[in-house]
Symmetry: C2
Subunit: 473 residues, 2 copies
């Protein structure tokens, strides 16, 4: 246990035992730092953690206060029902697109949106950096930055890998138009039309759409709401279907928010190596952790170049810039070549701007604020769900990202709830779009990536009421 | 005939008949405008045209001078050999990539490059516009500008279609990461793996690579070096192979530089309509014409929504920004949806910057300068080819774009020439990469998109010498 976790635990115990009571002010950071003989930043980290757990809350310029006893939260869902073990050709796109189009409407409370609020990002600072870097842009960058991409940016990404303990060579990184292109290029590098590919169940709907678009079959494998894909179920799928790839989200999976523990990631990588199946690791939410350190990518355990790690800056720094990347291990050259024949290269000014931003520093400070904001928003949304939803409602408790997975009591149809919510100016993302099987009818994904306000509170109350009425009908 | 064409013709006749002699100074624009009672811009257009034909030349601040009699040019190639009428699965990528990697090297004289010199573009002005527009960028643009893309930019593109006589609705335009993504999305919208697709022969190598990547078969159809694809050969291919699409470059085809006359475009569109085969029209070079007006896209003749017009700003305004688009007719919705599942959307700052640039005006002025530069560069390169290459060498005479197609005397292998040229610091693009058949061994594509200088002159002299030596060997 780290120092700040110890401090947080001590304070939590004081709250539990009534030494600190609701409304009490905590020692200031300076006081706590002096009395414990630890650095102020350690105290800050402990306070962040307690705030993320909902035990204390900052008030502007006056310090941290105890919020009360641990808030009432909805229970977590148990194991999810098992998917049928078939490799189905996909025909889900139409349904998904209809739902998605509604979740993009700006006039709706965006609980069904796939994106966090753009207001959480340092957009003015990014604009400033871009304004300056585009004016210094070498005219030849349009040739030099052809795939695999801007060398300065690739170096910055390699440096961040290094901080997280991964050794990825600059030349093995391919810059892409967001993580989605990276994932698609990796998929093309290791499959041919007609092949089978393993995904989680439920899974990110765009994974299913991508497989459908290029004529691949999806094998949906049982996934635990807290710990990710079930390795026994995966092993049997590997034997039975001989898939050519797995496309998994190891950290804060969309839509569940599940996080694979390190030992499970290690087992996953070893299992896939035994079957010689590449892992396409979608890690776009990894930086949005609420705990003490970034969760390790499965790629950290890879000794065969079989893990193709994909991520981007779209969810954690620069939405709309469309800068992502793949670190595709032994497939790096193939991926770079596919990139050349699909979109040729990635916007040079955007690549240069992000390289300059990362070089200047400040990214980690922004990330700390972002994590704190998301964690606080999760707490508020979760508590509202507990207040307003019918008994029997469960919700996952992700340690990062900005999605909750809500399981309504049996018999409530979330697609129907989605339709009724739309007429109240609210979007949700019904469970059925996350699978090609007839599953998750009573589930939906809830986005907590928008700053908490009265509209969101009201929308959750309305949703809860609609779900309760639906239940009675 | 327009006024300026009439003026140009009058002057050309004066040169032919010896009224104006080499070294003579033409009347100043002001004089000619006054004496003819026409506007100065009409005189300018006439002088540009004469300069493009190599008859006169501007000297800094002192006016236009007669260059002499029409320069010696290499003869144009006759009909190209007919391709084998088979639909072959493709395996050309490796060969092409090896050649392409060499053409990207900045230390080589880029006669094999696919790009014009970035110095021909208004990059400082673009940077200024981007610097200002990114700072005004609505934070919600990352959501609002999702496919089909930035509405202001789509409107500007629709306005340009309108100027060219095409009525394309703003909502039927999909912004893409360059024209290459547009072409690939259109291809995906109308084909399934295993289908056949018609391309020109020779064709843009990336078309062949794209077909190969997604499991399509290429039918290469005979193409005339001046007038584009042979319609009789196309008709027989349509009947025989029942292709699901044609991917053609109607204006200044890469690599030939051919331009389909309007009547032929009309026949093409009608022929394809009879067979209900969509045309994917790659029109990235259309703005780079040397004549009096932009060549019409085939889409102008389309009455069934079957023509999917694709273009970009990469070759005529903003290399490296990666902004292209598709106007896919009746397939617009499908293309927009495929875009959402492949790269989601296109860089928001780059879209906003180009929208702002186009709104501010100045694009047409830039295009006039660009065309003039390319036309002058073509003349210089062509004359150098005539001076230095072995007898029997032919070259196409495109009315636009920045590629010449060179046909060497039989027995000279251009792939071998390419290898030997590399060791002299010169790249070319050998003919074999533009086909999946064993053809065009004695041909190569020559890029004249770089400002004429001693290095280029020297490189062409060296190439000519190497080709002559190769001939003797």
């Amino acid at each position: 246990m780290t120092r700040y976790e110890m401090l947080a635990d001590d304070i939590a115990r004081s709250i539990d035992t009534g030494v600190l009571r609701p409304g009490d002010r905590l020692p200031s950071v300076r006081q706590a730092s002096a009395s414990r003989e630890i650095s102020p930043s350690t105290v800050f980290q402990a306070y962040y953690l307690l705030e993320a757990r909902g035990l204390i809350r900052a008030r502007d310029r006056s310090g941290y206060y105890v919020t009360g006893t641990a808030p009432r939260l909805p229970p977590e869902p148990e194991n999810l029902p098992q998917p049928t073990a078939t490799a189905a050709a996909l025909e889900i796109s139409e349904r998904v697109f209809d739902v998605l189009e509604s979740t993009l409407r700006r006039d709706l409370v965006p609980l069904g949106s796939a994106f966090p609020s753009p207001l959480l990002f340092p957009l003015p600072r990014l604009a400033q950096v871009m304004a300056s870097s585009v004016q210094k842009l070498d005219p030849w960058s349009s040739v030099d930055d052809l795939s695999p991409g801007n060398a300065r940016l690739r170096r910055q990404i390699a440096l961040r890998y290094l901080i997280d303990g991964l050794h990825v060579h600059t030349d093995d990184i391919v810059i892409t138009n967001g993580a989605l292109e990276a994932l698609n290029l990796c998929l093309m590098a290791v499959t041919r039309p007609g092949d089978a590919v393993v995904v989680e169940s439920p899974t990110f709907y765009t994974a299913l759409q991508s497989l459908e678009r290029i004529g691949l079959h999806a094998i949906e494998v049982q996934t635990h709401p807290r710990e990710g894909i079930d390795l026994a179920a995966l092993e049997s799928a590997l034997t039975r279907h001989r898939p050519k790839a797995c496309w998994l989200m190891t950290n804060f999976q969309n839509p569940l928010g599940s996080l694979m523990p390190d030992h499970k990631k290690r087992d996953l990588v070893e299992l896939l190596a035994r079957h010689d199946v590449p892992l396409i690791e979608d890690d776009v939410y990894g930086e949005l952790y609420f705990g003490s350190k970034r969760p390790t990518p499965a790629k950290a355990f890879d000794r065969h170049g079989l893990v193709m790690h994909c991520s981007s800056f779209s969810k954690c720094l620069a939405p709309g810039y469309r800068i992502g990347w793949a670190a595709p291990g032994r497939f790096a050259r193939t991926v770079a070549r596919h990139k050349l024949t699909t979109t040729l290269t990635t916007s040079a000014p955007a690549q240069a701007a992000l390289a300059a931003y990362l070089e200047k520093g400040g990214y980690d400070r922004h990330l700390r604020h972002l994590r704190q904001a998301l964690s606080a928003q999760q707490r508020d949304v979760m508590q509202a769900v507990a207040r307003h939803f019918p008994p029997g409602t469960c919700a996952t408790r992700p340690d990062g990202g900005y999605f909750l997975w809500i399981e309504l009591p049996d018999g409530i149809d979330a697609l129907d709830l989605h339709q009724r919510a739309l007429s109240h100016g609210i979007s949700i993302a019904p469970g059925r779009i996350f699978t090609s099987h007839p599953r998750f009818a009573n589930c939906f994904r809830l986005n907590y990536g928008h700053p908490w306000d009265a509209d969101i509170e009201q929308a959750i109350a309305t949703l809860g009421k609609l779900a309760t009425v639906g239940n009675r009908a």
